[in-house]
């Protein structure tokens, strides 16, 4: 973070929210359809993912919507939405019940559940139903001199980890790759404060041509000509900087989950594609892969 950037960190309120480690669920008919109608049964959502972690690949798993780390939710609806709306990426989490009580983790994503990274040895001591409490901080964060930019789910730690730089009145954010607006899919129906929007990976040849299939969980992602302030829609001249939070999907209209972090007009917000723009590294969750 360059010296010239000033954040209102001293005005942010830090408060507790919690959730319980979720149990994977299946509907009576548990099949997921591929685009051609072929049925699949695949794991990925909820629970403790022992071997899929932020920094790992987003494509190629024998899974669907793979949520890295530990997925937590709150049983009470209002409390669950507070967990969703107040938690920011990079916030500190702590296990408060069970064998792993006291273990610390880091929030790495938000899907229908909050996704928290813990060291692999901690996962061995965790079970479904354990409570994980998060010190939520970052809602309301602003960058001085750039009122046009809106930051969502940005903890002060993530604000530093962006490695933003100001160039000619524009904020430049390093990202791992750029996605075209036309492949942004499921999630267009949601408000932009809630979870993510899947990129649509159904055109497999396009994924390979553009190198999108090399995306990693935790990558920073840029999209041109979308406005993610109060929903996620096409608007020429606007930019969104996002985060890859879950893995690919077989279903039409779905794919890796892309969560909004920064949005603003292109004359004030830009990006540069740089290797290493992944929160597993920049938040020091894992050493460089």
């Amino acid at each position: 973070m360059s010296e010239s950037l000033r954040w209102n960190v001293e005005d942010l309120v830090e408060m507790a929210v919690n959730g319980q480690v979720s149990q994977p669920t299946m509907r009576p008919n548990g099949y997921l359809p591929w685009p051609d109608g072929r049925a699949a049964v695949l794991p990925g959502m909820s629970g403790i993912a022992y071997n899929a972690r932020v920094g790992d690949r987003a494509f190629g798993w024998a899974g669907d919507h793979v949520e890295p780390g530990v997925s937590i939710a709150h049983a009470d609806e209002k409390s669950d939405f507070a967990l969703h709306y107040l938690t920011c990426i990079g916030n500190e989490a702590e296990v408060t019940t069970g064998l792993a009580r006291g273990a610390k983790g880091i929030v790495t994503g938000e899907h229908a559940r909050l996704l928290v990274d813990f060291a692999p040895e901690v996962l061995e001591d965790m079970t479904i139903g354990d409570t994980v409490q998060i010190r939520a901080r970052g809602r309301g964060i602003r960058l001085a001199g750039f009122p046009e930019l809106e930051f969502k789910k940005t903890s002060p730690e993530l604000a530093r980890a962006y490695n933003l730089r100001a160039e000619n009145g524009q904020i430049i954010c390093p990202v791992a790759m750029e996605l075209p607006a036309r492949i942004m899919g499921s999630g267009a129906e949601l408000n932009a404060e809630y979870v993510d929007q899947d990129l649509m990976s159904g055109d497999r040849a396009l994924m390979a041509d553009l190198g999108i299939d090399r995306m990693r969980l935790g990558d920073l992602i840029a999209i041109r000509n979308v406005d993610h302030r109060f929903g996620r829609s096409f608007r020429e001249g606007w930019i969104a900087i996002c985060l890859c939070i879950h893995g690919d999907s077989v279903m039409t209209g779905h794919g890796p989950g892309i969560l909004t972090l920064i949005t603003g007009p292109a004359e004030r917000l830009g990006f540069s594609v740089e290797p290493g723009a992944n929160i597993a590294q920049t938040l020091n969750i894992r050493s460089a892969a």
Partner: protein
């Protein structure tokens, strides 16, 4: 300057009320998560409930990126009548104690309450203890103060104030009138949310939309825990306007962007016709009066 105030404190009954640390809440889909600021813009900011790690009584009431935050820890009961019992019985200044979890045994102090839509009791605990607490931990309060009266000033009604806080307030007597020291006086036209609602428990908010007006009345630098007066405000049975009436309270929540919802005030006492007065006493704050541990 503080003179002893005669009360019936020896006759008060001390009784337990308990609550659990509240989880913050937001409405589920398809509701929007936003609230509206007084200028119509949408905002999504932390609001009441939960464990607040970095805002304490004694801190500024204005300027946080938040909507009516409760400093310290907020508790309630899930069931409505029990929660009313907690909200009414708990008095500012009462002792609290953590009964479950990793911070069990830690002592705290009741510093305020919130009203309609949240109805929580606000409790101060040292910051180091907050780091050990978990949402859902049980807090018990030694409730003492309901039924308390000023022996020589029967027209002054006490509301949710503990005997220890009453004893600590700067006080003067002027004939039949009793005056207490305050940081500022809020004119009736800046009293907001809470008007018309119960004055047993809950809170009454200062309005903060007109920042210039706040500055003109010396209200723009209020701190959490400051003792304030509300002019022409009768808080005996609900809160409302009455010329000559007066209420005194303590700033117990931060400011917020919504119309009508500036800093929240837990009302401590009131009188209808000039029997209660106030005088300027800068720095009169319960953080000092109750020796709250940081």
């Amino acid at each position: 300057m503080t003179a002893p105030v005669a009360t019936n404190a020896a006759d008060l009954v001390a009784v337990s009320v308990a609550g659990h640390i509240v989880h913050p809440g937001f409405p589920g889909l398809p509701a929007e998560p936003y609230r509206l600021a007084s200028d119509g813009t949408a905002f999504l900011l932390p609001t009441y409930g939960g464990i607040v790690y970095n805002v304490s009584v004694g801190d500024r009431a204005f300027g946080w990126a938040a909507d009516c935050i409760h400093p310290g820890v907020s508790i309630r009961q899930a069931e409505d009548t029990r929660n009313r019992g907690l909200n009414v019985y708990a008095c500012v200044g009462n002792r609290a104690k953590v009964m479950t979890g990793q911070a069990a045994g830690t002592a705290g102090v009741v510093t305020g309450k919130s009203g309609r839509f949240s109805e929580q009791v606000i409790v101060h605990f040292p910051k180091a203890a907050r780091a050990k607490m978990a949402v859902g931990d049980q807090i018990v309060i030694r409730s003492e103060g309901i039924g308390m009266a000023l022996t020589d000033h029967p027209a002054v009604m006490l509301k949710g104030i503990g005997p220890n806080l009453l004893d600590a307030l700067p006080c003067r007597k002027d004939g039949g009138r009793i005056d207490f020291g305050v940081v500022a006086t809020i004119p009736a036209h800046l009293v907001g949310a809470g008007l018309g609602l119960t004055s047993e428990g809950g809170s009454l908010h200062l309005q903060s939309t007109d920042r210039g007006e706040l500055a003109r009345h010396g209200l723009d630098a209020l701190r959490l825990g400051d003792i304030v007066a509300l002019a022409d405000t009768d808080s005996r049975y609900n809160h409302g306007y009455l010329r000559g009436a007066r209420a005194l309270g303590v700033i117990c929540t931060t400011d917020g962007p919504r119309a009508g919802f500036g800093p929240g005030i837990a009302i401590l006492m009131t009188s209808p016709a000039g029997e209660l007065g106030s005088f300027d006493a800068p720095g009169t704050n319960i953080a000092g009066l109750l020796s709250l541990e940081p």
